[in-house]
């Protein structure tokens, strides 16, 4: 496996890896924020039911 050629993507590294980087960022945010919000809501609920 030639890793240099793999990362070079036939000279299109910016476009190909840019695509995959955008996917990771955009889809990552869409997972991270909802999980954070769910945890926050669950915590609030727990606090309220203990009162």
């Amino acid at each position: 496996m030639d890793w240099g050629a793999f990362f070079n993507m036939g000279g299109y590294a910016f476009y190909v890896w840019g695509t995959y980087a955008l996917a990771v960022v955009i889809l990552g945010i869409n997972v991270w924020l909802p999980i954070r919000e769910l945890r926050r809501q669950q915590k609030l609920l727990q606090q309220e039911s203990q009162e």
Partner: protein, 239 residues
Amino acid sequence: MFKIASARHFYPLAGKLLPWISALTAGLIFYGLYLGLFVAPPDYQQGETVRIMFIHVPSAWMSMFIYASMAIAAATSLIWKIKLTDIFIRCSAAVGASFTLLALLTGSLWGKPMWGTWWVWDARLTSELILLFLYLGYIALVEAIDDERRASRAGAVLLLVGVINLPVIHFSVEWWNTLHQPASVAKSGGPAIHPDILVPLLVMAAAFKFYYVAVVLVKMRAAIIASERHTQWLQGLKG
């Protein structure tokens, strides 16, 4: 069916399903990336840029699939007024907008090396951009109206009017002359792609579908807690 449609039954069910759907999503993504980046050969015309397709095309499919799901849910919501349906629609909007943005941006990254331009105002690209504005318009409209029921109704009407854009996106490459290539998978006579390219494309498409389901389930659970906080069943669950 109607039992599942109530938040009380949906909340724990979603919690049980989530680990499985998440695991399936992760597995499909890794398998799809492996096939797309290591197994699929470079295209004889487009070279390595063909790998952009494994993100771009499934994203574009998702942008339309999510909008169609929201519109169908909107139609049923106007008729039967099930609260969970409205929660589903609201929780889908941001994911749908994100896939639309991803399709547009990755299309740009593909267009530059292959067409020599980041953007053209042709039918396919313009109608996909309109789809993004429909998502953003829906989100803004629902956020702007305080009364929950009125917000849902107004949002549902907007979604249904915007449905007209979906066939325009799909057939745009046939109706108008465009730089964008015509459909290769969803065409009469079956897909015109080699399996080495088609299989990773379909695996990524499946991965994105399950990703969407997982994200929506998480968001719906949070939204259910937010709206039903003071009900007894939720208090009894202890998180």
